[in-house]
């Protein structure tokens, strides 16, 4: 298993053509360090994440998502509900305000707002996230779900998931595939090379 994993890692990292979520020193699948993002992108706040095996988070947030340390989603904790957690095991608690949450999909050079019927990204948000998208490019993320908490005063990246699932973007499926395919077309077949960090706010706007 380890040998196949390592072989794919090398193959995908060294492949000379475009690769969606190219493997790199950050992992076979890019593993985004959110604190590194905060250091590198202006006007981004760090996520409220608590990691522990005994205590509960010391911060108050309307909702908490609970994951295992490997990223597996376990459930949500709020005033009404709390998933059954095993004593002694490590959990990752991510605080957020559901009223301010935005789900965006980065697909190659396009960013889609998944709450919009056609995936259109509001221009203000487009401006706010340009630094985030540029940073994700440096981490080789070209296909990923971005969970953001947006408020007039701040932008907080809650999570970057390099494994978006179809159910999340089913309503704009064809646009997403078109964006990914356009990226995968070899450079010599396109009229001009993409510039690092270029992206479009969804095709429909």
């Amino acid at each position: 298993m380890a040998e196949s994993y390592a072989a794919w890692w090398s193959a995908l990292a060294c492949f000379s053509g475009p690769v969606i979520n190219r493997s790199s020193r950050f992992g076979l699948v890019p593993d985004v360090d959110l604190l590194l993002m905060v250091k590198n992108v202006p006007n981004i706040e760090p996520p409220r994440i608590f990691i522990g095996n005994q205590e509960r988070p010391p911060f108050l947030e309307p909702e908490l998502n609970i994951h295992e340390p490997d990223g597996r989603y376990l459930g949500r904790m709020n005033k009404e509900t709390e998933p059954q957690l095993k004593k002694d095991e490590i959990y990752v608690f991510t605080g957020f305000d559901p009223g301010q949450i935005k789900y965006l999909l980065l697909a190659a050079d396009s960013v889609f707002d998944l709450s919009h019927e056609h995936g259109c990204l509001p221009s203000l948000l487009q401006e706010q996230i340009s630094g985030v998208v540029r940073f994700l490019r440096t981490q080789n993320i070209t296909f990923g779900l971005l969970v953001l908490q947006t408020a007039p005063s701040h932008l907080r990246v809650i999570r970057v998931n390099p494994f978006p699932i179809l159910a999340q973007y089913k309503h704009i499926e064809q646009k997403v595939y078109a964006a990914l395919l356009q990226y995968l077309v070899p450079f010599h077949q396109t009229k001009e090379r993409r510039r690092e960090g270029d992206f479009m706010p969804g095709f429909c706007c």
Binding site: A2, E3, W9, R25, L34, P47, Q54, E89
Partner: protein
């Protein structure tokens, strides 16, 4: 005070502790297996410096230490059951997060050189950063492709695992290995042209370099008891490259391996290991490597 975090089953970790003790440096030790079985961990992702680890009612506050020495090993595969395996894996991931976000000096911080798990990519990455030559390589699970590569290497071929899991570099011998090539589809293997000549191991600690030349009758000197070891003056270009790699992956302690081709004198880069087993090299160097580690751990961050 230094915090040492590792497995007491790891010979190199135990060796490091002995050396710190000999140098009279104060340190606390947390054994990974014990910590996983009964320890407590909690921290805010963006406030790692205030994290506290608790074991046997003793609290280890990160901000009370000057530096951390760690050999963080994922021991979950050795767990006796699924529940412990998951728990051990969880602790490993959480400690990786914590140690990579601390502002105090950590030797070595995790998540800085994960590419080491994939040998061919790792070699290519640092080969291109430094401009060093790397051996011609073929990573494949295809017997025909492997045979083509073997045929194209008149000086011989060695083969080894594709991953960071320890394997021995073995010289391909048609009489012994040809019949095993059809097994390749079950497991990819890294083939490399054999570079005839001595090995070199350079340890880098901060800005200090320690080199040793190893002449061995075996293609992989680690399995031979008839090696000859001698100190070596490092060429400037190689020293600069080693420092560039350490800076690039922000890792203060590395063991970097080379082969020097006997016929041409060319240095071929093989690997930069961020968790080197350095005991033997240190003993032959009179403790110079462990002294440099101790020095690095006790210097103030601003110095």
């Amino acid at each position: 005070m230094i915090l040492c975090l590792g497995s007491v089953a790891d010979h190199t970790f135990r060796y490091s502790l002995r050396r710190l003790k000999e140098y009279g440096l104060p340190f606390d030790v947390i054994d990974l297996a014990l910590f996983i079985s009964s320890g407590e961990l909690s921290h805010l992702l963006n406030d790692a410096d205030h994290a506290v680890l608790t074991l046997d009612k003793k609290a280890y506050a990160m901000n009370s230490y000057q530096s951390i020495l760690t050999r963080l090993i994922d021991i979950s595969e050795g767990a006796p059951n699924e529940q412990l395996k998951r728990k051990a894996s969880g602790f490993y991931q959480a400690l990786r997060q914590l140690l990579s976000h601390l502002s105090l000096p950590v030797l070595n911080p995790p998540r800085r050189d994960d590419a080491n798990f994939s040998k061919l990519y790792h070699t290519t990455l640092f080969g291109s950063l430094t401009g060093w030559q790397i051996p011609r390589s073929c990573l494949t699970n295809n017997a025909e492709r492997a045979m083509e590569f073997i045929t194209s290497c008149p000086a011989g071929v060695i083969f080894k695992g594709a991953s960071g899991v320890k394997t021995w570099a073995t010289l391909y011998d048609a009489a012994r290995h040809r019949e095993r090539l059809p097994l390749l589809p079950q497991c990819p293997v890294l083939f490399q042209e054999y570079i005839q000549g001595p090995d070199v191991r350079i340890h880098i600690v901060g800005e200090q370099l320690f080199a040793e030349l190893i002449e061995s009758p075996q293609p992989d000197y680690r399995i031979s008891r008839s090696n000859t070891f001698s100190p070596l003056q490092i060429p400037d270009e190689i020293a600069k490259g080693c420092l560039a790699i350490a800076r690039d992956c922000q890792t203060p302690f590395l063991g970097i391996d080379f082969k020097i081709q006997q016929s041409s004198g060319i240095w071929f880069f093989l690997e930069a290991n961020s968790m080197p087993c350095y005991e033997g090299y240190d003993q032959r160097a009179g403790g110079a490597i462990s002294r440099a580690i101790a020095q690095w751990l006790t210097q103030s961050p601003s110095s």
